[in-house]
């Protein structure tokens, strides 16, 4: 994937004598001592990251961590004290007013925490604002605004005023305004923080849905780690103006860079972050039309499994369960045929979160992870699924040390 935006050594210091503060930072002094000595506030220090085309990059941090300052530097609403911000190779940090305006018009759109909709304009005029600024003609503006409103499902409300809409609808208008200009990069500054939890969940889902077709480069600011984990292809965690860790959701949860990140991730819903693969094992599938009942029973006993997938040319065609085969008293030499298999078996694509497997697990059957071509790649045993959820990495380690067993067995026992 191509690199769309790149932030290098960016600092922001609020206050008069920026150079002094910068050199103090270089000497390793902290944000607090600089503020105490000079009264200057360090907003962002030494931010470095790159965002690839078509990815959702989440910047997560608590209030005062500098995340809003950082995102405002990306479109020049706040001028960085030093460093480079490259968008398609153009440095926003050094751009003059005209160039900055050109970049804002063509490459960046922003969605705001409190919507920032214009109360004196209709919904359609709000959405068309970016186009109006660019000098797009009235009828084309309207057409493109309606298209963007269609994408967020608000087309029927085009001619109402924003004050008549609910919070969730208002933010959809904000999103549509960002989409209407068709710029490549969408900056979203805590766009869902002001919404009710249920609506927030809906909006997150809708954003992901939209992103699937739009493939924008999105920089998403949030203070909510759950939100970051749901949305982010990659996540940067900020503290005191510094990025403390950048990585995928999985990396943030499983390999926290320091105690701060670890403390954050401690309470999160692991089931949502961990994917099916983390609990998966080799399928050990039986071949359709070749394997016999006896062979199936023997394999299951060896592997200590209750059921196995049956595949035809790598594609899953059914599942045979130990108890079914035993109870029927079948001829052990008979081939596995359709009537002996459960053909209503669960499969999921790669990357499915553990949370989404809960429903399938209740059937007791293993869950197949299939590739895009429909081939069975891995299998998640129902009991392993619950075992995975019950333990955090530290506990796993502790359990392993105590008992001398490997973590997998520990999990099976707890399940």
């Amino acid at each position: 994937m191509a690199e769309k935006l790149s932030v290098r050594n960016v600092y922001k210091i609020f206050g008069g004598d920026v150079d002094t503060a910068l050199s103090q930072l270089e000497n390793g002094e902290t944000k607090e001592t600089i503020f105490a000595e000079t009264g200057m506030t360090v907003g962002v220090q030494d931010a470095n990251f790159t965002v690839n085309e078509g990815e959702i990059f989440v910047i997560m941090g608590l209030s005062g961590s500098g995340k809003s300052t950082l995102v405002r530097m990306l479109n020049g609403l706040i001028e960085p004290s030093s460093g480079e911000i490259l968008i398609d190779g153009d440095d926003v940090a050094k751009a003059d007013t005209n160039k900055l305006r050109k970049i804002r018009r063509s490459k960046l759109a922003m969605v705001f925490q409190h919507f920032a909709l214009f109360p004196h304009k209709t919904v359609a005029d709000n959405v068309a604002y970016g186009l109006k600024v660019k000098g797009v003609g009235r009828s084309e503006r309207r057409e493109r605004a309606l298209k963007a409103l269609g994408q967020v499902g608000l087309r029927p409300h085009a001619d109402t005023y924003t004050s008549e809409l609910s919070g969730g609808m208002q933010q959809r208008v904000g999103l549509a305004r960002g989409l209407a200009t068709e710029s490549d990069i969408l900056l979203m500054d805590e766009p869902f923080s002001a919404l009710d939890p249920l609506i927030r969940r809906d909006m997150q889902g809708e954003l992901l849905e939209l992103q699937r077709s739009l493939q924008k480069t999105i920089i998403f600011i949030t203070h909510d780690l759950d939100e970051a984990l749901i949305l982010g292809d990659r996540i940067a965690i900020m503290k005191d103006g510094r990025i403390v860790q950048t990585g995928t959701a999985r990396q943030i949860v499983d390999e926290p860079a320091d105690d701060y990140v670890a403390a954050f991730t401690q309470d999160i819903d692991r089931a949502r972050v961990l994917t099916a693969e983390t609990a998966a094992v080799e399928p050990e599938a039986l071949r359709y039309g070749e394997a016999t009942v006896g062979e199936a029973l023997r394999r299951m006993e060896e592997l200590d499994r209750n059921a196995l997938f049956v595949t035809d040319n790598g594609k899953p065609v059914g599942v045979v369960a130990y108890r079914d085969l035993v109870a029927d008293g079948h001829d052990r030499e008979a081939k596995l045929a359709d009537e002996r298999m459960c053909t209503d078996f669960p499969t999921v694509p790669h990357g499915t979160s553990l949370r989404d497997l809960y429903g399938f697990a209740s059937s007791g059957l293993p869950i197949g992870i299939v590739s895009d071509e429909g081939k069975l790649d891995r299998v998640v045993e129902a009991r392993a699924l619950f075992g995975q959820l019950a333990t955090s990495p530290e506990e796993e380690q502790a359990a392993a040390e105590r008992s001398g067993h490997d973590p997998a067995q520990g999990q099976a026992a707890t399940a």
Partner: protein
């Protein structure tokens, strides 16, 4: 008892005389008289227009505007009050006062709104003009009547110019305030889409500040009306002159009649401009829309009011 005056006395009055008579008048009389030209033009035009329009037509138009902006009660008041003015035989003077006041307000808006916009955009500029505005509002208007007579002569136009000086501060202050009160995130939104300063001003800041600006315009209007008696001292006509001659002849009745005329105009214009300011609250963005609003059905204006309440 010791006082500084025992040692040094300052001929302050002489200095001012020297400055005005010796410097300002000879060097800048031409400049000031050029300023007079547009003011005179607008005032003459308005004056002859208002005196040309038949009383009944004028009253009905005022009543219609009052109805559209401020409601039925105010419309009825306008009809009764203007009829009263006509019956006490002050119609012509009232129209002259109205022309003078509106001229002053027009020029206050032409000067005041841009100055207010500049002040909103620059803290430094605001720091410079704020003491000037304070002086303009606190200095007794009699003090600058004399230099105005020296520079502009006597008559209605100098009267209007004195009125402009007196009535200018509120529109500057409230334009500045209105623009500064536009929520920061709306301004950021405008900037983030690449607006020029002009686009931001016209499309976002001014419409959102319009309500406060209209409140400033209302105050400017009221100040201009209250100045009409003082302006008459330097030769301006209209109701102010009626009051002044009444005073001069100790004719209480005539002075009161002139005063009542001013109050009536003040009430009508105040209600109309306040009504306009309230309508500005939500969506009407331009003078054209406001004007068009006069002629929309009353149900739609009721709906707008509802929306305004919701937004508030």
């Amino acid at each position: 008892m010791f006082s500084p005056a025992d040692i040094v006395t300052i001929p302050f009055g002489d200095w001012v005389n020297e400055f005005v008579r010796g410097f300002l008048v000879p060097n800048f009389r031409g400049f000031f008289q050029t300023i007079e030209v547009p003011v005179e033009f607008v005032m003459e035009w308005l004056n002859s227009f208002f005196n040309w329009v038949p009383m009944v037509v004028f009253t009905l138009v005022m009543a219609l505007i009052a109805w559209r902006t401020a409601g039925k009660a105010n419309a009825i008041f306008a009809i009764i009050a203007l009829a009263f003015v006509d019956m006490i035989q002050l119609w012509g003077d009232t129209m002259t006062t109205l022309a003078m006041v509106l001229t002053a307000v027009v020029f206050c808006a032409i000067v005041g709104v841009p100055v207010g916009i500049l002040a909103a955009g620059s803290d430094r500029f605001l720091k410079v003009i704020r003491p000037i505005l304070d002086i303009m509002q606190t200095i007794p208007s009699f003090v600058y009547l004399v230099p105005i007579v020296m520079l502009f002569g006597v008559g209605s136009v100098p009267g209007v110019i004195a009125t402009i000086i007196f009535a200018l501060p509120p529109i500057i202050r409230l334009t500045n305030l209105g623009i500064r009160q536009v929520p920061e995130d709306l301004v950021e939104a405008a900037e983030s889409f690449g607006s020029t300063r002009w686009q931001k001003l016209i499309d976002v800041q001014l419409p959102l500040a319009m309500r406060t600006i209209m409140a400033g315009l209302n105050q400017t209007l009221m100040l201009a009306l209250s100045m009409s008696v003082i302006a008459a001292l330097i030769g301006a006509g209209g109701l102010g002159l009626v009051v002044n001659t009444g005073l001069g002849r100790l004719d209480v009745g005539r002075a009161t009649a002139g005063g009542v005329g001013i109050v009536i105009i003040a009430i009508i214009l105040d209600r109309i401009t306040q009504g306009l300011a309230e309508r500005k609250q939500v969506h009407t963005t331009s003078l054209w829309q406001t004007l068009r609003g006069f002629f929309q059905s009353s149900s739609s204006s009721a709906k707008e009011k509802q929306l305004a309440e919701k937004a508030g």
